[in-house]
Symmetry: C2
Subunit: 493 residues, 2 copies
Amino acid sequence: MTFNISKVENFSEWYSEILVRAEVTDLRYGVKGFVVIRPWGARIIDKMYRIYESALRATEHSPVIFPSVIPEGNFKKESSHVEGFAPDVFWLEKKQGEDRLALRPTSETAFYDLYKLWIRSYRDLPMRLYQRANVFRNETKATRPLIRSREFYWIESHDAFSTKKEAEAQVQDDINMTEEVMHKIFGVPFLAMKRPEWDKFPGAEYTIGSDSILPDGRIIQQPSTHLISQHFVKAFDLSFKDDKEKDKMPWLTCYGPAMSRILASVISVHGDDNGLVLPYTIAPVQVVIVPIGNDAQVAGRRSQVGDVVEKLRADLMKEYVDVLIDDSDKRVGEKFFYWEMKGVPFRIEVGKKELGDEEVTLFVRDTREKILVKIKDLAETIKDLGAEYDERLIARADEFFASRIVDCSSKVEIKKALDSGKIAKFSFCSCDKDGEKCAEFVEKELQARIMGTLVSDESEMLGVRCQISGKKLGKCPFCGKKAECVVYAGKSY
Amino acid sequence: MTFNISKVENFSEWYSEILVRAEVTDLRYGVKGFVVIRPWGARIIDKMYRIYESALRATEHSPVIFPSVIPEGNFKKESSHVEGFAPDVFWLEKKQGEDRLALRPTSETAFYDLYKLWIRSYRDLPMRLYQRANVFRNETKATRPLIRSREFYWIESHDAFSTKKEAEAQVQDDINMTEEVMHKIFGVPFLAMKRPEWDKFPGAEYTIGSDSILPDGRIIQQPSTHLISQHFVKAFDLSFKDDKEKDKMPWLTCYGPAMSRILASVISVHGDDNGLVLPYTIAPVQVVIVPIGNDAQVAGRRSQVGDVVEKLRADLMKEYVDVLIDDSDKRVGEKFFYWEMKGVPFRIEVGKKELGDEEVTLFVRDTREKILVKIKDLAETIKDLGAEYDERLIARADEFFASRIVDCSSKVEIKKALDSGKIAKFSFCSCDKDGEKCAEFVEKELQARIMGTLVSDESEMLGVRCQISGKKLGKCPFCGKKAECVVYAGKSY
């Protein structure tokens, strides 16, 4: 009945097993790479969506709903985009007399076709639209539930501006949103990486990816934001009249946080050997109340214990705490185990003993401590403890992440870092086309990927208190040329 | 600049035009039957989804996320289901070595494949799961935006029970939810109709549809709920052990409210010749504040008028009212027109005159009255007026609907009713297979559809104060046989 798999020593098994045991996903749907997300997972994702959508609306983004299908003609308008995405596309069987249709792998080519009609004048700008959508990619590599699926659940925002400056400010705002939501609310630290030339989004002028790390040291790519190339803008023939009636080309950005994949990070980063540990803010159940003793179990809610339990629930609900009473006929120990494994932050035990006292025992999931809490202050206390809980989770995740970044100055050091599940940071010849050869060497010989250059030295902002070694650039450890940048590299699945 | 199309006299033009002018949808996506839903439409749909999902969760439904694709093998397990849906299916181009995949037209065959694994014992029941999803149907008839599209946006709940009695109670609960949400919140009245044998959901034992009416008298089908046939249960080999360890077959129901189509009804039912009229509860903007006078326009928010406007906004936001200040440089008259056409329930005008008084002028969209409201009571007053506003909309919709139902006792009367855009109610031979011939006659000769029999005589509950003519059954006006039921018939697109 116990869970008890070591996350650090055997992450892969831990991850597969917790998804089953905590009823997050079900992999038995019978189609490669398509996963069923069960209620516990769907409820977390729903909370994540609501928070992300609120953040987008607060920054002047409006929702929109585009079709899931993209006509082949539109899809193929921008050559590097086609080249990048075509192998990944699921096509629909063509209907006679109609265009062949792609299931969207991403929606630039759907949005821009309408932006051509919607953007006429500088008064129409900025335009900031997003959609909550399922997208489809025919992954040829091995799929992994929530991490790499052939259908996944994301938000994509597609923004348009009059000037490049505004567009670049949006790219920075997108990074800030990843920081504010994914890191500061969901507790997933990351590095904002400007991708090397050869690894940018097909059709972008540049791409800022955010890379997080799994407990086994593998890199997982989280939301990216892109400054779209003007080639793309031309391909869709976008233009607007400025305030002097002159024709101008708009500047475009896009941003794509994937809820299902962020959930994979949330699960991996915070979980422990007893199962899930969910941030208080996004836990579907934040407090579970377990009535204890025969009185509670037999007579249920009409008993004295039952009355107290009902009162506690009402108090908590009034303060918008998501609370559940487990009055099933399972044994108490079984209930404790079950809700711990599911990652519920707080458990309240109420038995005959508690009836006389004015206190209840609160079990805290991450520290596994028991605290006595006064019943009259319960709701307030829970909210304070919830905030502290999330801060603790974030601090722990940050610490782990920082410990995984290693300054390296030779091939040997880089290999050693990568082989021990760390991110290597080192001087590198170039992130332009020139560096691609060395990147290929890294990929082939070290099975690792050049993640890019850090967007900001404000590493504090990114939650990473790693040792930045200053700006002194050495030589590229692979070709020996003078380095132009400091890059990060890591292994991914 | 004015809108001014007569909804009653020229509904079809009114509907097409208001979708464009109020920026609800855009039909220029270039793929037949696939529509872009613009921010104004997406924001209404989002509010509708939240309300419907809350109602489902309050009745013990949990969210779940199933893949959008269904393997051909599963899709074809139940023969009447295949027969009913196969012509409507979009198939994906088959990948080598993999099953052919359908884009879900509805998800019974996706859910039940997993229900086989999830439902083992009576302890697993009842199981009530729903998903918010896009579904796809290759409509061959003419498509109409939001009403009949090839991709649409709905919720589908799939429930399983130990006994038929519980399942039938769920069907009744589903009808009640349509009443509570679609009618009592969104203001769309309907008739709950038990469908004739020949018109039930493919794979159902019986179907209760809810039929609403458009201003031109056409019937529009809204959420249906179905008791799934035990053939379907057998086809998916579903069974569970009861409390005596005996194998039993579960009873299944499903329910499918489509947000996009309900939005079509909301728009059609409440709108008037000046544009949209949105229920207060689901309007994206509930109150628009328009600053008036040169002072406001030039100096913007730093002016005296601007200060009052900001204070009003803050007061309203504190009470969760969705409020917007229109301080654009458009002319005041243009702003008035624009927000009326968009269906915003309340407009507040603030000019120099209002600065001295402690009152502002409130324009009410549906009645077009102007009311003076004390600034200090504004938020409270708006909420009260908002509730009254919605009640007024519902009453008006109910009245219209009731006036459209006509008791008929002969072919001539039925034809007359149908031809004048009404629903005809009459004695009919049979809603079993026996009646299909007369129904075909109605379809061919009168271009109308037998909607079914009223589920309940509690017509008050359904918001329809029509004259129920008692239970006396006459003869079927088509075959002359003794009638077994009273049916309703109407024309649909």
